[in-house]
């Protein structure tokens, strides 16, 4: 392979967010030589943006907490279509993974007796989120980064994988371009771990960065792996909505966890008006009880603002649609009101939510200690992803593993806040460990040069069309606009069929996109190559959403507004057929062991 710069590793990890870093650290500890590839600089992955916290049943704040409660909460939140084994492993192992971070230098906020402090969050029965103010993701990624750089891991920054390489059925490497010079690279590996994060850029309003183009999802799909639960997209209830340029930027749930309330333009706390039956016994009777809960009263139940995200988002949409929204088309989120209850409220807010305070002050000229914020739903997270084995995180393609947001299973139909950061740690570690083990058992592989030449040819196509073709951004914007409109928070069959037609047309347009300039650090070129991934995940989301003819968690259909028990026993799976078609099927969820069923019953 004379034309490509080639690197060889036992384990190649694609992605340097929490999941990728944790996987790389573990694989390397297991004796494997590890390559770690990421699109941005080290430490800039999406994980850095996480605010609220890491969910782990440490029971430091409420000793009634334990893994069983966390497990039951996660299953309830996911509406019981989760991979129960993953939910179990996650709940059991998260506490150790968090303590490990402390051994690597993390500094979480403390309880008065010097232990790790935990905060309230939606859907978690007890205070469970380990945090540092509202910059928990930064603490986590920096800890892993600073630990990881001493582990002998080969880091390839600003390098983008465009294709997975195979030898027969096995995944044996990846093809990439590096941003800086635009040169191609070939990674040979005995095992590959995908940790590429999410797909938020398929929608117009999102809390996600440019990196979130569903690369890992599409890479795995194209390599023959199955994707599952793709209909389940999480629309976070509170994104910024004004001014327009900040639309979508996240307002952490911790605002509500610390006492913030949602109100419509009549000043009504509308969340009290619609509490789902399966949460009624856990929800506060009145505003007084809700307030006491946020202040740590163990006998109080949580306010309805902390119901699951899918539900809160829909309630907000309802208020707006029925004309009770705020001036810029959202609702009000008010934390300033706590000054009625606390003497030094302004200081308290700045201490607890420093980056929210800054964000609103600098970007919207709003002082959140004095005025309410305007918020509305924003595309935040995808529950769906690569279908993996719960224990090892291996996909249906031998040698290809996935962890973190790009893998599916733990969250079912809806993710609870905080369960992503813990997922990254628990399953990042597992993926790294088992990838290293898998790699040890493999002999060398052959990569035929046709695969490489094909990948290279495809990558330079946009230049051949040069600027006579349409620009990549216009196609990207059209896609985002359409997905937001037709496959967003409230869905129906007719609109989604239109979306499929639209996607076919966009695919056609994407095939004619051209870019100018040369290959060195050329964002137009990168955006052109990302289009294939965005289109693939959009198709997967739309097909899966058409297939699930019911409403559950993050997936709401106005033509099937109720939950259908028949769909409670299946996951929707998509796979690429030999002829390139997307095949959609329903796969039964395996029977849950009796002991786990009992836990769920007990916690009802």
């Amino acid at each position: 392979m004379p034309d490509y710069h080639t690197h060889e590793h036992d384990v190649l990890v694609v992605g340097a967010g929490g999941a990728g870093l944790r996987a790389a650290i573990e694989a390397s500890a297991g004796g494997a030589s590890v390559g770690l590839v990421c699109k941005s600089l080290l430490g800039k992955a999406h994980t850095v943006m996480a605010e609220g916290g890491i969910a782990a049943a440490l029971a430091n704040v409420d000793d009634r907490d334990n893994w069983k409660v966390h497990f039951a909460d996660t299953m309830r939140g996911g509406q019981y279509v989760n991979n129960w084994r993953m939910a179990e492993l996650h709940a059991r192992e998260a506490p150790d993974r968090v303590r490990e971070l402390e051994a690597w230098g993390a500094m979480f906020d403390r309880t008065t007796d010097g232990r790790i402090l935990q905060r309230q969050f939606g859907g978690h029965r007890y205070p469970r989120l380990v945090h540092v103010g509202d910059r928990t993701g930064l603490e986590m990624i920096r800890t892993l980064q600073d630990h990881g750089i001493h582990q002998g891991i080969d880091v390839h920054m600003e390098c983008t994988i465009t294709r997975l390489l195979k030898d027969g059925d096995r995944c044996v490497g990846a093809f990439a371009y590096e941003r800086e010079r635009g040169r191609f690279k070939v990674f040979r590996a005995r095992a590959v771990v995908l940790a590429t994060g999410g797909v938020g850029r398929a929608f117009k309003i999102t809390s996600n960065s440019w990196e979130y183009t569903g690369d890992g999802h599409a890479l795995a799909y194209d390599a023959g792996a199955e994707l599952t639960d793709m209909e389940f997209v999480q629309f976070h209830p509170t994104g910024m909505i004004w001014p327009p340029s900040v639309r979508g930027i996240l307002v952490t749930e911790a605002v509500r966890g610390d006492g913030g309330v949602l109100k419509n333009n009549q000043g009504r706390r509308f969340m009290f008006d619609d509490i789902p039956p399966n949460y009624r016994s856990q929800t506060a009777e009145n505003e007084e009880e809700g307030w006491r809960y946020t202040q740590g009263d163990k006998n109080a139940r949580r306010p309805p603002e902390l119901l699951t995200r899918d539900h809160v988002s829909r309630c907000i949409v309802r208020e707006i649609k029925q004309g009770r929204g705020s001036p810029h088309g959202g609702v009000f989120l008010d934390i300033a009101w706590i000054k009625e209850r606390l003497p030094n409220a302004a200081e308290h807010i700045k201490k607890k939510l420093p980056s929210m305070y800054q964000q609103f002050k600098q970007l919207a000229d709003i002082d959140i200690t004095r005025e309410p914020m305007e918020v509305g739903p924003t595309t935040h997270y995808i529950m769906g992803g690569v279908r993996v084995d719960a224990d090892t995180q291996m996909s249906s393609v031998p040698g290809l593993f996935a962890a973190g947001e790009c893998a599916a299973g733990i969250n079912g139909a809806n993710r609870l806040g905080g369960n992503s950061l813990s997922d990254l740690l628990v399953f990042g570690k597992r993926a790294g460990e088992f990838a290293a083990t898998f790699a040890r058992q493999q002999s060398g592989a052959a990569i035929d040069s046709r695969q490489l030449d094909d990948a290279a040819r495809q990558a330079v196509e946009p230049f051949e069309r040069s600027t006579q073709g349409e620009g990549p951004y216009q196609v990207q914007y059209a896609l985002q606009e359409m997905m937001q409109e037709l496959v967003g928070i409230v869905r129906n069959e007719a609109e989604m069929r239109r979306a499929l037609d639209g996607l076919a047309r966009l695919r056609e347009r994407a095939s004619r996109v051209g870019v100018g300039g040369h290959r060195e650090y050329n964002p137009g070129w990168h955006a052109a190559l990302d289009l294939h991934n965005l289109l693939t995940v959009s198709e997967a989301i739309t097909h899966s959403a058409i297939e699930r003819k019911e409403s559950r968690g993050g997936h709401f259909r106005e033509d099937y507004p109720d939950k259908d028990p028949a769909f409670g026993t299946v996951n929707v799976v998509v796979r690429k057929e030999r002829d390139g078609r997307m095949a959609v099927s329903r796969t039964p969820i395996p029977e849950m062991p009796l002991e786990l069923k009992k836990i769920i019953e007990e916690m009802k």
Binding site: K44, W104, P523
Partner: protein, 251 residues
């Protein structure tokens, strides 16, 4: 606010470059990064720029706006004079790569040379006790988003190019976080003087003034470290005391 504004953007590669003017529509609430993105989408698809979070959390979008080191995503247009062209250029202390993108790899190399965290053994239950009052000081340093704006502005690097001798304010903050970590047992004081060149800093506070995270870099990180260097390396009494007491955490 006017309805459009001109941005004088640096376009160049490793060896040369020039400013180019782009005029683009502006509206309420926009930040410099929005304008750059608009220009990129509509007029210059290949305009190179780094960004990720668009909310001041990742430290990717550092640049010099009208000559001031800034995060482009947190610089509102209404804070700028739009009657003249707004200049946007890359951080000048680092080698240029393309347009607004610079080669910051030196920072990653330097960090690796600083001794890693080494905690004391945990308590019997396998965990550690630390009190909020003890961690707060270090939490300030851990807010760093590695935007490298402080490195960009520090004259030891910017004007004197002492990249081989001086770690720069960012890494002094990093070292301070480790040195003042209540659990850490390693000692970086000698390295700081010998290899990291802490002595070159003459506490001008330029770094503190540009830090988007409001870290009091000079007062809270560098000066206390300098004091340790002075105590430890020049004051035999303090040194002896330390040996008797064990551990490196006197301040």
């Amino acid at each position: 606010m006017p309805t459009s504004a001109t941005f004088r953007v640096w376009r160049g590669d490793r060896t040369s470059g020039e400013f180019k003017d782009y005029s683009t529509p502006v509206s309420e609430g926009m930040v410099v990064l929005d304008a750059i993105h608009q220009i990129q989408a509509e007029q210059a698809n290949d305009l190179a720029v780094r960004w990720n979070c668009k909310a001041g959390k990742c430290g990717s979008c550092s640049a010099e706006v009208n000559g001031h080191p800034k995060l482009m995503c947190m610089t509102r247009l209404n804070q700028l004079d739009l009657s003249a062209a707004v200049t946007v250029e890359p951080m000048r202390s680092f080698p240029p790569v393309r347009d607004l993108v610079t080669d910051v790899s030196w920072n990653f190399q330097v960090k690796k040379t600083i001794r890693r965290f080494k905690p004391r053994p945990p308590e019997a239950d396998g965990t550690w006790r630390m009190f909020q009052s003890d961690v707060e000081r270090v939490q300030e340093f851990r807010k760093c988003i590695e935007c490298f704006l402080c490195q960009d502005v520090c004259h030891v690097l910017r004007e004197h190019h002492m990249f081989d001798q001086f770690a720069g304010p960012r890494h002094l903050v990093y070292a301070a976080a480790l040195e003042m970590h209540p659990l850490d047992t390693d000692d970086r004081v000698r390295d700081l003087k010998k290899d990291r060149g802490i002595g070159y800093c003459n506490i001008t506070k330029c770094c503190t003034n540009v830090c988007p995270e409001d870290i009091a870099i000079t007062d809270n990180a560098i000066i206390p470290l300098k004091e340790r260097v002075v105590d430890r390396l020049y004051d035999p009494v303090a040194k002896l005391l330390r040996m008797v007491r064990g551990g490196a955490h006197d301040v």
